[in-house]
Symmetry: C2
Subunit: 624 residues, 2 copies
C-alpha cells in the first residue's frame, strides 16, 4: 500500500481542523516573526556577515526550512497570499545565496567557508540540506512552483558529487540524520535515481569501520583516540542492519529509521525493514512513555535503558514524538499492522501535540510526565527545532489517515475527512464522519464510481475491548475479520455503502509493566486514545502524589465544551493524604497518614499547562 | 554541660568496638597505603616539585590531616607503634615544609607559591589548615607530643596575621568552612584567645557586603559581574545570623554550623545558636533523609529544596552525615534536647556508617537510598575526603556518649562503655552495659565516690513508643520525668546504684510526610535506631519496586549472628507483582498486575553492598 498524501485529503475534523486553522493563523505567523527577529532570515542576505548575530547557529537553515514546509502544507488548506510571498521571498534569498557549484548552507557560506564538509559528526550540514529538500518538495507539491525544487536539486547534485562510494568521493554521512528521508522525497517527485542511491549510500555507510568520524577528526587535527565520542549518540556505533536497540539522540534515531524504511521500500531491501522491525519493538515495548513520548534523558536528549521512565525529568522531546509518527506511518505502509498505527495515534493525540499550546504560540521542547509547577511552554528556543516540527505535523495530519493499494483501501487514523482513492482500477470516494477522539462512532461512506470488489481495512486500536460494526446498517462481527489489528472487509462495494465502526471508550485504568521500576504499581487514566493527567488547578492537593485512586472508584467522563477548547474530562472519588494531620516538624512518623475522599478531575495530557501554572501528574498511586 | 572527650571513655561495645578495631587494623593501614601510593605524602618532601604527580590536588593536606586525626584517636584505644612512627614521620615532613613565616600548605608551597591567599572562594587553603589543626590537637591529646601542635600554632599565628578586621589585614574567610571549628579546638587546648577571635572573625565576616569573593576575583583580574558564582553554595550569600534555610554544599554547611555553635558557646553569643537552631529545624524537618543522609543532589553535592528526597540519585555524602553528627552533638551540649541526640543517633547508625564496608577497606562517597545494582563502595577516591572522615568518626565515637555539668550527668548515646565524670564536686564512675542497637535494655551502674545529689539525664529516643525504667530494680515512671526528651532523674546517688532503661524495639513501619512527593504513601522499616533496606540477594524480585507490603503483614526480627557481622534482620510476607503474567510485548495494559505473596527479608541499611552486588531499596510500597 501507499500512503495518501495530505494534498489529496480534505480534513473537516472537529479536533484537527481548528488546530490546522490555529497553525495557519497563529503558529506560522509567529514562526515567521521569530525567524525574522532572531536574524535567521536576515542571515541569508548578501550583506550579512560573520558575527552580525551572536547566536547564529549552525542549524538555522533547518528552522527556516521547516517553516516553509509547514507553510506549504497549510497553504493547501488555507490559501494565504502573505505567507506565500514570505516564502517566495525566502526562496529568492536562497537562490541568491546558492554558490556556483550548488552548495547551499548559510552558516558555512557566511561564517566558515573554508570548513565545508569537515565535521559531519557535529555540524548539521547534511541535516540542514535535508530539511531544505523536504521544504522544497512540499512547496512544489502544493504550489506547483518549481524554483525551490530546482535549487535543491542543484544542491543535491552537488552533495552527490561530494559523497558516495566512488573513488575520490567522501564516504561520510550525517551526524544528525534527516537527509536520507529527504532524498527519497526528492527522488519521488523527480524520479532521479541518483537521489535514492545517495540516500541508500548514507544509510549503508553508517557505522562502517574504519569510522568516518574518526577519519574526519584526524583530518581536523584531532585525536579521536584521546576522547572518543559516543557513537551511539548518532546511531553510528554499528552498521544500521546490525542495530537492534534504540540508542542515542531520539530525534536522530527517528529520522534515521524513517529513512531506512523509505530506502528499504524503494529499493526492495527487506533487511532494512527487518532491522526497523526489531528496533520498533524495542522502542515501543521497552522505551516509550504512555504518551508516545520517547527519550528519557536530557543528557543525550535520548534513550537510556529499558523500562526507564522518570516522570519529572522525562525528556520526551516534541520533535522525537513527531519523528516517531513519521517512522510509524512508514512502517505501517509496509507491514499493515495496527501496532504501528496505534503508536502513531498515541503520539499524535498525546505526546506530540502536548508540544504546542492551544493558542498555537507557545511550545514545549521537553514534555515531562509530571511537573512541580515550573515547567511551561516557551515562545521560542535558541535551538528552535520543535515549534516548526509540530507545526508541519499538524498542517499535514491529513496525510496520516489513508492508504491505497491495487485492491484495497486502508483507514489508519480516525479524523473526519474525505478523499478519493485509486483502488480496483477506479476512483473510490471515501468519507469518514466522526467526533473522534471524544466519540466512539466512526462512519465511513464508500462511493466507488461503480460496484467494485476490493478490501477495506479499518484499524481497530488495541485500547478498545469490544469493538463492533455495522455494514449498511447490519451488525457484523469484528473479531472474526481481524487481520493484524485491522478489520478486513472484503466485498463488492457499491455507491452508497456505509460502515459504522464503534470503538467503545470507557474510562480505562492503565497499568505499567512490573519491569518499569518507577511507574509500576501505579495507574494512568485513558479514554479512547487520550491519556489523561491531573493538574493542580483542578486538584488543589499538592504534591499530587498525595492522591491515590481506589481500585473500586467509579470514573465518569463528561464533555466540557468550554474547557480547553472542548475536552472530555474524567472525574471520580480519590483518596488524599491529609496534611493537617501531620505535625509540620515531623518529616517521618510511626503512624500512617490519614486519607479523606476527594473528587479528582483529569484532563487530556496534551492540554496541560494551558491554564494557571501548577503541579501536574499522569501516574497515580492506587489504593485497593 | 560539656561533652566528655573520647579519651576519657572506655568503649566495650559489641557494635562499635569491632568497628574501632577494624578501623585500627585495616582502615588506617589502607589509608596510609593510598596516601603513599597516590603521592600525597611524598608531595611533602623537599625534592617534590610541581608536576611530579598529575593528580596533585589542592586539598591533599586535608586527606593526610584526617588520617592523622583518626590515627590519633585510634592510638588511644589501640597502641600501634608503626602507626605512631608513620604519623611522626609525616609531622617531620610538615616541620621541614613549613615556611619561615609559619605558612604551611603543600600545594601552594610547591605548585603555586605566588598565589597564596588569592582564591579563598575555590581553593581550600584555609580548609586544609583547619584539618591540620584538628589533627594536631588530636595527636597532642592522645600522645602528649607537642611538636605538631606547635607547628600548627605557628601556622595559626601566621593566618591570624593575614586575616582579621584590623587595617591592612584581609577580610576574607574560607570557601570551604572547617577552620572555624578547628581554631576553637586549638583555643581550647592552648587557651590562646587569638584563635577564638579569629574563628569568630571568619564567622562574623561571612556573607558581608561588599562580598570578599567578588573583591578577590577582581584582584585576580576576573569580572565577578560577568558570571557571578552562586554564593549559596558556600553559605556566603548572607551573613550567617540571617541564614534560616540550609543551602549549598552540605559538608561545607555542616562544618560552618558546627563552628558557629563552638564560637557561640565560647563567646556567649546566643545569636549564633539561635541561627543554628533555625537551620537545624529546617534541615532535620525538611531536608534530611530517613537515614540521616543529607544533600539530595550531586550537582552541588548539597541541598535542593524542602521535602526533595530522590532515592536512586540521592547524594547523601558520607562526609555530610559525619558533619551532621559533629553539629548535632554540639547543639546537644547547649540545648539538652533529644531532637539533637536522636538525629546524631540516626546518622551514626545509618547514613554515616553506610559509608564504609564491614571490611573497613571500601567506601561510599554518596549513599543512595535505592540502587539498580551498579553502585558500589570504592577503595579510594581522587577527592578522598570521605574515607578518613568516617574513620575519624568511628575512632572517636566514645566522645559522643556522655556530657557532664556541675550537678548533672548526661547520657546521649547507648554504647557499652564506662567513664568517670566530674559531677557534684567529685568523681562519678558510670558504666553503661547494653547490646544496643539490637537489644532494648541499657543498664547504668552509677558509682559516685560518696553519696551525692545530682541529676542523671538519659536520652529517650523519639522512635520508642513505650519506654520504661527500673531504678535499683524498682519500676519508675519515664513519661512523668521527661524533660526535652531526656528522662531526668534527680536524686542522691550512692555507690552501687543502677538504672535499667528499656526502649522497646518492635519492628516499626515509618511513613514519610505527605509533602515528600517522591516518598509519600510508602513505608520504610525501622527497628530501634536502625533503618532497614532490601537487597536483591535476599529478595530476588527486581525491580524491587515490584514489592509491596500489606499493612496487615506481621514483621518479625531475628538476630542472625553469622550475617554481616551479626545483624537483626526483619522478615515478613509481602506481595510481589508477577512478571510471568505479563506479555513481554506489553509495556502498558488494561488489566491490573497479579500479585503473589512472598517472604521478604530486610537488613540494616548501613550493611548494604557487603555481599553480592544487586538492587537495593529502602522505601516500599504499601498495600492495604
Amino acid at each position: 500500500m501507499k500512503p495518501v498524501s495530505f494534498h489529496r485529503v480534505q480534513v473537516t475534523d472537529n479536533f484537527w481542523k481548528p488546530r490546522m486553522e490555529t497553525n495557519s493563523k497563529t503558529t506560522l505567523k509567529i514562526q515567521y516573526k521569530h525567524l525574522k527577529e532572531t536574524g535567521r532570515i536576515d542571515s541569508l542576505e548578501p550583506e550579512y556577515k560573520k558575527g552580525d548575530r551572536e547566536a547564529h547557529h549552525i542549524f538555522w537553515d533547518s528552522d527556516i526550512a521547516k517553516w516553509i514546509e509547514s507553510g506549504s502544507y497549510s497553504l493547501h488548506y488555507f490559501p494565504d497570499e502573505e505567507l506565500e510571498e514570505q516564502i517566495d521571498d525566502v526562496i529568492d534569498k536562497y537562490a541568491r545565496l546558492q554558490l556556483e557549484d550548488g552548495y547551499l548552507n548559510s552558516w558555512y557560506i557566511k561564517v566558515e567557508p573554508e570548513k565545508r564538509w569537515t565535521n559531519l559528526r557535529d555540524n548539521h550540514e547534511l541535516y540542514c540540506a535535508g530539511h531544505l529538500m523536504e521544504a522544497a518538495v512540499a512547496y512544489y507539491q502544493v504550489t506547483g512552483k518549481k524554483r525551490f525544487l530546482d535549487i535543491m536539486c542543484r544542491y543535491a547534485d552537488h552533495i552527490d558529487s561530494v559523497f558516495g562510494p566512488e573513488e575520490g568521493k567522501k564516504r561520510g554521512y550525517p551526524g544528525h540524520e534527516e537527509i536520507e528521508l529527504a532524498l527519497v522525497k526528492l527522488y519521488q517527485v523527480t524520479n532521479n535515481e541518483r537521489y535514492l542511491n545517495l540516500a541508500k549510500f548514507f544509510i549503508d555507510e553508517r557505522g562502517a569501520q574504519p569510522h568516518y568520524y574518526d577519519q574526519e577528526a584526524l583530518e581536523r587535527g584531532e585525536n579521536p583516540e584521546r576522547r572518543r565520542p559516543n557513537y551511539e549518540y548518532s546511531q553510528s556505533h554499528l552498521p544500521v542492519r546490525e542495530q537492534n536497540v534504540v540508542v542515542g539522540h531520539a530525534v536522530r534515531a527517528m529520522y534515521l529509521y524513517s529513512g531506512m524504511v523509505d530506502v528499504g521500500i524503494e529499493t526492495n531491501d527487506p533487511t532494512l525493514l527487518e532491522a526497523c522491525s526489531t528496533l520498533w519493538d524495542n522502542l515501543t515495548q521497552k522505551r516509550m512513555y504512555i504518551t508516545g513520548g520517547i527519550g528519557a534523558s536530557n543528557l543525550n536528549e535520548g534513550f537510556t535503558f529499558d523500562y526507564d521512565f522518570p516522570e519529572e525529568t522525562s525528556y520526551c522531546e516534541t520533535c522525537a514524538s513527531v519523528g516517531l509518527i513519521f517512522w510509524g506511518h512508514r512502517m505501517l505502509q509496509y507491514y499493515g499492522d495496527n501496532k504501528y498505527g496505534d503508536v502513531v495515534e498515541r503520539a499524535l493525540f498525546n505526546g506530540a501535540i502536548s508540544g504546542i499550546s492551544l493558542s498555537g504560540d507557545r511550545f514545549f521542547y521537553a514534555n515531562p510526565l509530571a511537573s512541580l509547577g515550573h515547567r511551561h511552554r516557551s515562545e521560542w528556543f535558541g535551538c528552535a527545532c520543535c515549534p516548526p516540527n509540530i507545526s508541519r505535523l499538524i498542517a499535514s495530519v491529513g496525510g496520516y489517515i489513508y492508504s491505497e493499494a491495487d485492491d484495497s483501501a486502508w483507514v489508519h487514523q480516525f479524523i473526519q475527512s474525505s478523499t478519493e482513492l485509486n483502488v480496483a482500477s477506479q476512483k473510490v470516494h471515501i468519507e469518514q464522519r466522526t467526533n473522534y477522539p471524544w466519540s466512539d462512532k466512526i462512519t465511513f461512506f464508500i462511493n466507488p464510481e461503480r460496484p467494485a470488489k476490493f478490501t477495506l481495512y479499518l484499524r481497530v486500536p488495541s485500547w478498545t475491548r469490544s469493538p463492533f460494526m455495522y455494514i449498511n446498517g447490519e451488525m457484523t462481527d469484528v473479531y472474526g475479520l481481524l487481520d493484524k489489528g485491522y478489520v478486513k472487509i472484503e466485498r463488492t462495494w457499491s455507491p452508497g455503502d456505509s460502515v459504522e465502526l464503534i470503538l467503545p471508550m470507557p474510562v480505562e485504568r492503565i497499568w505499567a509493566t512490573p519491569f518499569a521500576r518507577l511507574t509500576n504499581g501505579r495507574i494512568a487514566l485513558q479514554r479512547g486514545p487520550i491519556v489523561y493527567c491531573l493538574e493542580e488547578v483542578d486538584n488543589p492537593y499538592t504534591p499530587l502524589s498525595r492522591l491515590s485512586l481506589p481500585r473500586s472508584s467509579k470514573l465518569t467522563a463528561t464533555f466540557e465544551e468550554d474547557l480547553l477548547g472542548g475536552v472530555m474530562t474524567i472525574k471520580g472519588l480519590a483518596d488524599v493524604m491529609e496534611t493537617d494531620d501531620w505535625d509540620a516538624n515531623e518529616p517521618y512518623r510511626l503512624r500512617h497518614p490519614i486519607v479523606k475522599p476527594v473528587t479528582i478531575k483529569a484532563i487530556p495530557y496534551y492540554a496541560w499547562d494551558n491554564r494557571e501554572p501548577g503541579h501536574m501528574i499522569v501516574w497515580l498511586r492506587e489504593t485497593f
